[in-house]
Symmetry: D2
Subunit: 389 residues, 4 copies
């Protein structure tokens, strides 16, 4: 089921991530026999170098192959890969693309959840996907603290050995202007104040394009909020539940994040300021900082995103909009070949998000990771972290 152009059916995600391995690794092997020649059209997302694509908006119509055939496809590709990986030469050669493929699949694991949530939200019976809301639940913080980010030169971008996407490079120096960044995310309670203060009815807080978007779509609250019996509820993966004031606000667009910040007399941080704040916390001798949700989110999120793993941590962190338009770092060059279409060609009219959400794979939680969505997007687990100059 496909509930909007931006979202894809689960079956498609499953087939597409397998297609990625088949296309970028197996197809280069002369002895490989493709599973089904039609799949190269059906499950290519946007790689023009590979060939034409079945229209994104119609992915919900791919009645065939059925789920069983897609599972067979996955088995086939797994088998073919495993077999070849026994050969060291192949393993070495394929290592880099394998890592991209695995990270790619992890990104789609997140999308499967966000897309399913959107799909279920279209059903007026508010179906339940799991018992636990899985939406963001924040450990209450005694005080809003602010991390100081002094002016100066910083090193931005991925350094070390681990995997990182091309868009996190080249590592480079940047001069930042001084700011402070909040240790906590904006909560539902705070966001409700914005709503009740006429936030959605006062154009002075909004970007021109944001105001037009909000008017045209009758926005008056975050994506999944609904008034019922006189109070706000939010649709979660556990169905419709009353809005909890202490949870971080989620499913807001860049436009809403920006309007909220202006209403609050603050700003959104740039993505570089956000990254610098992580470095500052990591080096800080103030160990209490690590107890802060901010630190949790930025540094230890991998421990806490699944309630079972970190019942005491910040459950439910979400992607944080920055004020940075998504662009290549100085000297950025996409990799050669089709895989170069992965990130670079989307560097236009999108805004960078940092941090990761409850639905993000824990090994994607790192200081330098750059997520990006158009400013009107709301179906991801997105939230707001303020900065103050």
């Amino acid at each position: 089921m496909q509930s909007m152009d931006d979202a894809s059916p689960t079956k498609w995600h499953l087939a597409h991530t397998t297609w990625f391995f088949e296309t970028f690794i197996l197809r280069t092997q002369s002895d490989y026999r493709e599973f089904d020649s039609e799949f190269n059209f059906l499950f290519n997302s946007y790689y023009n170098s590979i060939g034409r694509q079945y229209p994104r908006s119609r992915r919900g119509l791919i009645s065939r192959p059925g789920m069983q055939q897609v599972k067979d496809y996955r088995d086939h590709v797994d088998r073919e890969l495993s077999k070849r990986l026994e050969c060291d030469e192949f393993a070495t050669e394929a290592a880099e693309l394998l890592q991209v493929g695995i990270n790619h699949e992890q990104q789609h694991q997140e999308l499967m959840l966000t897309d399913a949530k959107h799909m279920l939200s279209c059903n007026p019976t508010w179906p339940t996907y799991r018992d636990d809301p899985f939406d963001s639940a924040a450990t209450p913080s005694d005080a809003n603290r602010w991390i100081e980010v002094p002016a100066g030169m910083y090193t931005i971008g991925h350094g070390g050995d681990g995997f990182a996407y091309d868009n996190e490079s080249p590592r480079h120096s940047a001069h930042l202007h001084a700011t402070s960044i909040a240790t906590t995310l904006v909560t539902n309670g705070e966001y409700l104040e914005f709503i009740e203060d006429g936030g959605y009815k006062r154009p002075e807080f909004w970007l021109s394009m944001g105001w037009a978007t909000a008017e045209q779509n009758d926005w008056n609250a975050p994506l999944y909020w609904h008034q019922r019996d006189g109070r706000w509820h939010q649709f979660t993966l556990a169905g419709l539940v009353p809005v909890e004031a202490a949870w971080p606000v989620t499913h807001v667009s860049y436009f809403e994040a920006d309007a909220f910040a202006r209403w609050a007399g603050k700003r959104l941080p740039t993505e570089f300021q956000w990254e610098a704040a992580c470095q500052i916390i990591a080096k800080s001798s103030d160990t209490s900082l690590e107890q802060e949700p901010f630190a949790d989110v930025l540094m230890q999120q991998n421990k806490c995103i699944h309630p079972t793993r970190s019942p005491d941590g910040l459950m439910g962190a979400a992607w944080q909009w920055t004020s940075s338009s998504y662009a290549g770092y100085p000297g950025y060059c996409p990799p050669a070949g089709a895989v170069g279409e992965y990130n670079g060609k989307f560097m236009c009219n999108q805004y960078v998000l940092r941090g990761g959400s409850v639905a993000t794979s824990s090994n994607h939680i790192r200081d330098t990771y750059r997520n990006f969505f158009p400013p009107e997007a709301r179906w991801q687990f997105t939230t707001i972290r303020l900065a103050d100059d």
Copy 2:
């Protein structure tokens, strides 16, 4: 799965037809307990008197109830109806609406096939729904014969005892102008001549609105025709097959039917001329007429629409566009109450089709039955029968 606004998912058809019985018959019983209160919103098609409706274009997003729950719903309603029908008083009172409900469900049985066909056609792998194409196959006729319909007064509309829809009444007299009506349907072969003579490129054959529609949608053949390896194929419920010249052309819009007729120097019959032709054949002493496909279609179609029942007959007859805009007969009044929304409110910008298709329930095949679709519709099994003045 829902492939376009006009088509509905099978699950929705199943639930909606049950909703019809529940709403129009069971809900009036004080001791009836509805199965699920949400269903009255989800499965109401267009009855404003009953309440608001879930948007038609989003029927594909009704993830819940699932198929099992819909089956339970059907069982529940069947049970509740059966139980009550043991009471004679109820049975008598409900008889008329029961008959409407059954005929209504039969109409949706046809739609399930046409909607499924459309949905499958969106898949570039051309899935197969059944072994037999099920598309129209015509018994070849030695000669194109023409039934004379002399000028004069005719009685139009449903008379006898059997069931008929409100739009087939009142039975009334009409003065018709003389015409002749073809005994055979236009074939793929004939339609191909039209195409090859530039039919889709010569505006002189087309209604202005038809020409605009064809240009805008790049029509250059019937809906399911595709060029492959230099020849025409058509998508059927048995997958993609080469176009058979002898089959009746199917999946053409009123615009195409009208343009073809003009190209051929002929016309489309009015719905009254069509109905008069049926009466003439029925009274004719020329028994050979009954061997004609025309007679088959008009009089005996119920014997032949399922290949197993009539292997020698006209397999694959299709709905025949008439030149009549869909309107109420003189003195027409829709029934009181919500069921009055069944037919009457659609009497605008639609054209009447007569005859029935391979997918039509055999007890819907009658002289007076009036089907109707907008002039651009092509996903039903529609065809062309010519008239000549």
Copy 3:
């Protein structure tokens, strides 16, 4: 200035009507030199046989030729025609097309007014075009009378010698069912009752397509009605004036006319019943009928449409929607050649209007004249006349 796709700028009307004479009469003369070869593209409205056309929706962008050049064009064509008409042979040959050309220009004279009215209505300062509202003002009638139209055979279509369009032919016999037709038009006062009775909020009165159109466009009154200081006003060519209860309601769509009739427990007449009523009045010995507005409208409208000519008559009659979908009469054939595109190709999804409006040339006021517009059109001077079976 062009305020919507359906309306054209005055300058375009002036050039197009001249282009009609040039194209259909002068261009066939070997010694004729066209005024400007670009005009054949710019000012061809919809004649595909002549060539491609500048898009209708962009007629407002034809900055060049300017008005002076268009006047020169008109002078040029007038001169060339006059000169040739001195030759009897040419005059005889051209007579028929000349008459079409003159009637065509008269139709555009009406459109110039209706299009200008629409354009001015888009200006929130409510500009004044003339002192006199020019909207419909009805002579009050003591009583609503009804003309009986008995069942029987009638002769429909244009007979006599005068000019008539191809769509008024062939003259033919038709069997009509009995009805009565109101002698007066529905007034603003009556229409206001419909509004105040929730007419625009109760789907039971509306065609399905009408309801959808009204909802989508937020219709809650006729096209040019506006609430101001708690009461209804209507925009006229004399600016915004309070709604006069005694005037015929104007600028209603077919959808609204049909809904009003259903609300009133009446119907719209068919175009044939309307035409039959004219014949009945003409033959009637009840001379008082001719004093009725109905007679005025139908028979003597040419005396009254311009206030100066008939200060005591029915000022402001308007086109009356009938329930008849626009179609060719039995045996109808459009004329050969490009002029055959004049009427025939529009016979789809339009409804016939009869009678003529205050803006109609008086020599177009005749029993058999068939105007036609899509059911949602409201910018013409349209009104409602009821029938009762």
Copy 4:
């Protein structure tokens, strides 16, 4: 006349710029009587704090006031302003807003030309606005030279005394990465090579959104280019002329500029690199640089944009797309009040252009001036300057 939503009629520009003075300066004076109360609705462009606005897309429908009334409006406001400016206190107080008002009007002077050009381009007769093409004509340069911009800290933003917009502030320091910037603009000849090398057909050069835009709109050349008799012509204010290879390419979108740069193996400069290059040239002892078109454009353009003033200079410079998304400088705060809506609320999904065009007022030509348009905009005089890392 209004040829698209983005462009406004000349009459509207004239009234709006006067409205700006009336609204921001005169209306605050208690003794001022507004000229016409409707104008505050009709000629408010986008200032929500002032009130609601007549829809932008319908500006072409403002038939009233006519041109004479708009001229009277301008005289009225000029008179009222002049009278009051004799009072020193008023003059001092109003000085800043007056300067904004004058610069605002100069921006609209440019828009009047670009909007008129677009409007005339919709006319297939290619009207002539002036004798001289007025499109960009470049002084031929012997060699493509490159200005080195070394890595390091630079000061960005407006400093001195003269007028500058709020978006040119605060002046601040920025660390730039090394690059070289071309002294010449990309020429038509070079752009033609891109086209002939399949530039518009090879997705590998394009941003994803650019490719989609180009496909959807059938772009295959700059906005005003047309094939005629086998060679490229471009529509100019002097009509359609053959494409001159030596002229700078104009009327390209950001998408095209970016694709061209990628094809050429180069980049677009950031707006900061561009501004730094100006500073470098200004300080350079290499006086030959000032002879370069680059210097002309950047430093002396005010001498040359009007042919009469600088017949030997670089005629026809155009706005140069940079790779910088339009955003506020660090610490940027829009001015208080409605005038704060001037720039700040548009900082989303737009790209910065630098330099100025043939249509730009000469006192707008400065190093720090930031123009901005969405990446798909093509109707301004826009061009490409390359950078090379």
